[in-house]
Assembly symmetry: C2
Homo-oligomer: 527 residues x 2
């Protein structure tokens, strides 16, 4: 018997039937970036897409931190109802008190509160853009093929939906694993450690218990953290739609990690790992810097930064660092814009901005002193430089934990650090050859890949443009509610059937037994 064509996956079939077949040679890319360090790596992809002939337009709020125009792409500046000073104050709020105390479980709530303040301001900016009808009409009219955005903030996903274009997400991960949850990626609590849990992928019973409790906490955090986003989505797209539901429609998730950095865990077909995208190319060092590091002799030099957001610290903390650097033979290149002591050691070069990756690529680089941002970590790994790490906030504690557990870094808490502890730690990382050996091996594994991360990111962005999405990589789990996803309805029904059959059988047996006994007793009586 011949069966006709069966069309269960209606979306996929519509995609196969009705869409154009020709590849997009020069596509139109709309970019909604997230400001700060997030932008630094996305910019690399934006520039490369532009270099390969795509028309790229980056949406930039009037008040911004690091996003600027470039020869490579055009920008569209939109008005926001906050000033640069207000934004800066908001950012200062985010990094306030970093050097005061050891990050702990309590900091989770402080961090969440600050994050909500920061993202609320950004949501307000998004509302301003969405209300800007002339600009919205202009953008809609331009017929973009794809939205490239970082779902850390919601505006890009909202725009993609409103303009009916597929979205490509570019991120390290979202707070409380919203990316994993939205993409229906399994993440068993028994071996996938939760953020802030301090666990690795190898957990004993108490650690697994902690991990599970953290997963309950995570659900609460998600609710608090994404309330503004849910409101925005509900107001702008569909009443009752959550932010998680909106981003679940992302065509491709470009994720800035790999399993040299993260612990191995399940993936989904539309998750593309591009860890290390930010350390592809190195440029020559400026002459004075080159002279400084070239002249560091056999002792080599140390690169010290605390990330794009933190170039300053309290004077007493800075003194500890200066004192420690005085006691070591290595030279130090330090990104520092704070107050200077009278006697800055001669082996220390202070700079407002470091060519971090180029410095780490120098053969005399011995240690990378870093806060543990994912960008810096990958630059350390790419160049095989062991690290001394000072986690400050956000995902840094967990990032550092990953590197320390691989034996390629040591960790110091900035808040109770002493000069002696710092000197000891530096000596350990420099003179215990194990750190360097393991880091070189880790670096080799990281760099041994079939496609460079930047090429992979470009490929999948172009794929989405060529085929107007990637629904063949979207799991059908998105069409199920959590009850159905976990087969609870099926299990419930089977249990019901089983219990009913058992009950009927028991009742029948009892009935038969009574009948038999009744007959026997009647017989006895008659006898």
């Amino acid at each position: 018997m011949r069966s006709g064509v069966w069309f269960p996956a209606a979306g996929l079939l519509a995609w196969l039937c009705c869409l154009g077949l020709g590849p997009v040679q020069g596509g139109k890319v709309l970019v909604m970036p997230v400001d700060g360090s997030h932008w630094l790596s996305m910019k690399i992809l934006v520039k490369e897409l532009s270099r390969r002939g795509h028309e790229v337009k980056v949406l930039v709020p009037e008040s911004s931190l690091l996003i600027q125009g470039s020869d490579g792409y055009t920008t569209e500046v939109y008005k926001v109802p906050y000033t640069q000073a207000e934004l800066d104050e908001n950012m200062n709020n985010l990094r306030a008190g970093l050097f005061d105390g050891q990050p702990g479980i309590g900091d989770l709530f402080v961090n969440i509160d600050r994050l909500v303040q920061f993202t609320s301001l950004q949501s307000v900016g998004c509302d301003a853009l969405l209300d800007n009808k002339p600009l919205m009409d202009k953008l809609r009219g331009e017929g973009f093929d794809v939205m490239l955005t970082d779902p850390f903030l919601p505006c890009g996903s909202v725009l993609a939906h409103l303009f009916s274009i597929p979205a490509v997400y570019f991120l390290r991960g979202l707070p409380c694993e919203l990316d994993i949850k939205a993409n229906k990626c399994p993440s068993p609590v028994s071996y996938v450690p939760k953020f802030f849990s301090g666990n690795t992928d190898q957990m004993n019973f108490p650690q697994r218990m902690k991990n599970m409790l953290m997963s309950f906490l995570e659900s609460y955090v998600c609710t608090v953290l994404y309330k503004h986003f849910d409101d925005l989505v509900s107001r702008r797209i569909q009443d009752g739609m959550s932010y998680k539901e909106l981003i679940s429609h992302g065509a491709i998730w470009l994720l800035r990690y790999d399993f040299v950095f993260d612990w191995p865990k399940p993936l989904m077909p539309n998750m593309v790992l591009i860890g290390g995208i930010n350390c592809g190319k190195t440029a020559p060092l400026p002459a004075d810097l080159k002279e400084f590091v070239d002249g560091s002799g056999d002792d080599g030099f140390i690169v010290f930064t605390l990330g794009s957001m933190v170039s300053n610290m309290p004077e007493d903390k800075a003194k500890l660092f200066f004192d420690a650097f005085r006691k070591i033979p290595q030279r130090v290149v330090w990104r520092y814009t704070g107050d200077l002591p009278k006697d800055v050691p001669k082996n220390v070069k202070l700079m407002k901005w470091l060519p971090q990756n180029d410095l780490l690529a120098h053969p005399k680089a011995k240690v990378f002193m870093t806060h543990g941002g994912s960008h810096g970590i990958y630059e350390g790994v790419c160049n095989g430089v062991p690290m001394l790490m000072f986690p400050l906030f956000g995902d840094q504690g967990d990032n550092v934990h990953r590197m320390v557990s691989r034996g390629v870094a040591a960790k110091l808490n900035v808040f109770d650090m002493t000069t002696e502890k710092l000197v000891d730690a530096l000596k350990e990382v420099i003179y215990d050859k194990g750190y360097k050996e393991r880091m070189v091996k880790l670096s080799q594994i990281h760099l041994d890949r079939p496609v460079e991360p930047l090429d992979l990111a470009v490929f999948w962005s172009e794929f989405v443009m060529r085929h107007k999405g990637a629904p063949h990589l979207r799991v059908a789990a998105h069409d199920l509610n959590w009850f159905q996803y976990h087969s609870l309805d099926v299990v419930g029904f089977l249990v019901f059937i089983f219990v009913t059959v058992l009950w009927v059988t028991l009742k029948s047996c009892l009935f038969c037994t009574r009948k038999c006994c009744g007959k026997r007793s009647a017989k006895k009586k008659s006898e």
Copy 2:
């Protein structure tokens, strides 16, 4: 407080610490293939590894079906306690009765029984190899870097373990999802359809129920199907070790599918999709064949094969095909070695072996009539030729189901086919342009990939050689039992704590209430 280097993932750290760092330029590859169609695609990788300068040795049983020597690689023939005639009879058993009835749930058990007979014979062959001490000593002495094997049969994995070399697996998938289970890959029954269930990834309640019941059946099938393998592993490696446990140590799983063919589902970091590896290159057609298909005019031609194992069919069945071909204007190239009728139609060319991929690449190829083996399907997809499919046994029913649900193929059951049904089906696939259009789109999606499957397979084989495995891609779930994996111990403990606290609270309340009431009633009495 500075934390020292923490070593939880001992295996990974040992890997980072102690293994050589240099890449293997020309590695030594031991290959334990599975005979029949499995070998046809593995051979492509074997030849390519050899071409790229690796020393490749293929282990071949004295009695075999399709495995032969080549200029590209060396073979090591080992004695087996069965003759070629016995092997052929065993194979004939496997394909007996294919044209007699519609495959159904009952065929599952027939297929299992035949499969067990086939694999038992192969297990006996494996035992003979393992008992061949001179050959085993010789192989062990050669210092191979990697074992390339198809875990459909157990000998390769056993040898890899005995020789302490990492294993790279090359497969389409294992019966009853043993590959998925062994690799701890999540596979939710709510949207990942079970083999033989007839489901797609979009299931309603009864279908999800069926899927769950099939998963129970699968557990039973696994036990029956792999009993011989479990025995072999238990005898040869470690008492009580199962085959699943052994293959869970595979470094990389090269899987011959992608999400153009299969429905999207979770993956693990060490699963590499190489679907379509078998249709990379085309060669010119032999002169007579070229003349035949070139001369097919606007009507074009049909390619008809039922796979490497089935080149014959009962005379009455063959007659139906000959009669149908007489009624269509297309020419037909048919792999057929059975008895010929007196009047073979002129538009039919019968051959003993077809250059299938080269024929399908011809612009005049209109339809691919196939049994639905995964190799053939990919050759159809690569070349954008819609299909008319006749599933016979094994995974073919499910493969065909995948293609039909994408609207790129129609299906006929060989057992109740008539000439009219066949002619109608051919006309539908040829003249309903939707089939061709969807297939071209599917083909474009399949071919639009960042790395060619063959290059990807070579890359990961070489990666395993260079780094002596890939433990950074192995999830920690392997170190948990099923109870721990599903966090049942943690949930149990939390429930216990909750119930205890509840009980103590209730008891305390009751105690207090009684005290209060007691006092009151005593007071009343005294009053």
